[in-house]
């Protein structure tokens, strides 16, 4: 029986262990590198898909814009209509000054006995008028009528007798300023 003595056994074991560790490290590095490459590929792929998506979106936007340009005339008409109607809506919401109503109210209060000869509407809600009354009683009845006596409502909010004079024949010449209740005016 032959007996062998391995004098390099310990050294060889150490080398083999080192080689195994080296291989393991190499494989691990390759795995990490491979995983990294995979991540990079995913990122690049996702970036590419986003690029395609963005391109498609931009193409769709261009197509829509082109269609809107084709329909420019319709849009222009709509814009014009909108501009005019919004301005007119504001205008129509302001009530017109009731010139005729004021004249008719004065006419009614005058009852044919008072002669009204001049009216000045200043455009801000105030009316100045001059007239002649045959006597003081009829004049006071007329002014009372303007103030709303025997009436449920009146269009006048303020009445001012600006001037009064008596003629030789007993007639009264007067000047009156009235303010209508509704001052809003176009």
């Amino acid at each position: 029986m032959r007996r062998e003595i391995n004098l390099l056994g310990e050294e060889r074991e150490r080398k083999l262990k080192l080689t195994r560790q080296f291989r393991k490290l190499q494989i691990a590095s390759l795995i990490v590198l491979g995983a990294y490459c995979l991540v990079v590929m995913v990122v690049v792929g996702y970036n590419y898909s986003l690029g395609v998506q963005l391109k498609n979106l931009n193409n769709s936007i261009s197509a829509r814009k082109m269609r809107i340009t084709e329909l420019k005339k319709v849009e222009l008409q709509q814009l014009l209509l909108k501009q005019r109607l919004s301005a007119l809506e504001d205008y129509l919401n302001k009530p017109a000054y009731p010139y005729t109503q004021v004249i008719e109210n004065l006419e009614e209060d005058a009852q044919g006995t008072i002669v009204l000869d001049r009216f000045v509407f200043d455009g801000k809600g105030s009316v100045t008028f001059t007239g002649k009354a045959p006597d003081a009683v009829r004049l006071s009845d007329f002014l009372g009528g303007l103030l709303g006596e025997n009436k449920s409502e009146t269009v006048f909010s303020e009445i001012k007798l600006a001037g009064l004079s008596r003629n030789i024949n007993g007639n009264y010449q007067f000047s009156t300023e009235i303010v209508t209740s509704d001052k809003s005016k176009k």
């Binding site: 080296f22 005019r84 109607l85 007119l88």
Partner: protein
């Protein structure tokens, strides 16, 4: 590199170095690009939705109807201070109420295009043009005239009024001096930005249009403009 331990570290260190380098040079800009692209996609998607809605709205509009309405509104409130058109209106209206037009004056400052520019700058869309006129006729005619001014087209309003009469009897002739305002609306300076959503006509605006259709259009028939002689008469004009 004689030391085997050092030789062992080459692969992992090289891998780490490669990863770091690739991350800095390639991956990081790509990730930044992805972020930007995602933001752009979100923005573009929103824009596309708006544009699609706008296209749908525009395709749903009746172009013929819009043109018809605008043409009519151009007569209601012209795009510029159309003096001849206003004068024809004045003449027709006075004629309709059996009144006589005795005097007519136009505010030259309001008429100039300079004032028009100021009005646009102040964002006053409706711009008035004042006519100082004198009319004569029966009181009933003048009352009807004043009543109908507020419901007649083109759009006008009485700004101030002076009435002179010998009495408030229908048989008396009354002289009325009034400032009549005609209105015009300038065309918008900026038109149809593609990205801007379409202006929708509100219910109130539709109601305003409906109420205007009930108004009376004065210039139904074309009337000649009044002719004014100026300077010396032409001796060669055939009599």
């Amino acid at each position: 590199m004689t030391n085997p331990r050092n030789k062992m570290l080459v692969a992992p260190l090289g891998t780490i170095l490669l990863i770091v380098l690739a991350t800095v040079v390639f991956l990081r800009p790509k990730i930044a690009e992805i972020t930007t692209q995602r933001e752009s996609i979100a923005k573009s998607s929103k824009n596309l939705v708006q544009l699609t809605a706008k296209v749908a709205s525009l395709e749903g509009l009746d172009q013929g109807g819009l043109i018809e309405k605008n043409d009519w509104l151009m007569k209601v409130v012209p795009a510029e201070k159309d003096v001849p058109y206003f004068i024809v209106t004045l003449k027709n209206m006075v004629k309709n109420y059996d009144l006589a037009l005795t005097d007519l004056a136009i505010d030259s400052v309001e008429m100039s295009s300079g004032s028009a520019k100021v009005a646009v700058q102040k964002k006053e869309v409706i711009s008035p043009l004042s006519f100082k006129i004198s009319i004569e006729g029966k009181l009933s005619g003048i009352k009807d005239y004043l009543r109908d001014v507020a419901t007649s087209l083109p759009l006008m309003s009485v700004d101030s009024l002076e009435l002179e009469t010998l009495g408030l009897q229908d048989s008396d002739t009354v002289k009325a001096s009034l400032v009549l305002k005609f209105y015009s609306i300038y065309l918008p300076e900026v038109l149809g930005n593609v990205d801007r959503p379409i202006s929708v006509i509100t219910k109130d605006e539709e109601r305003a249009y409906e109420s205007l259709t009930a108004y009376q259009m004065i210039n139904q028939s074309v009337t000649e403009l009044p002719m004014f002689q100026s300077g010396k008469p032409n001796p060669f004009t055939p009599q």
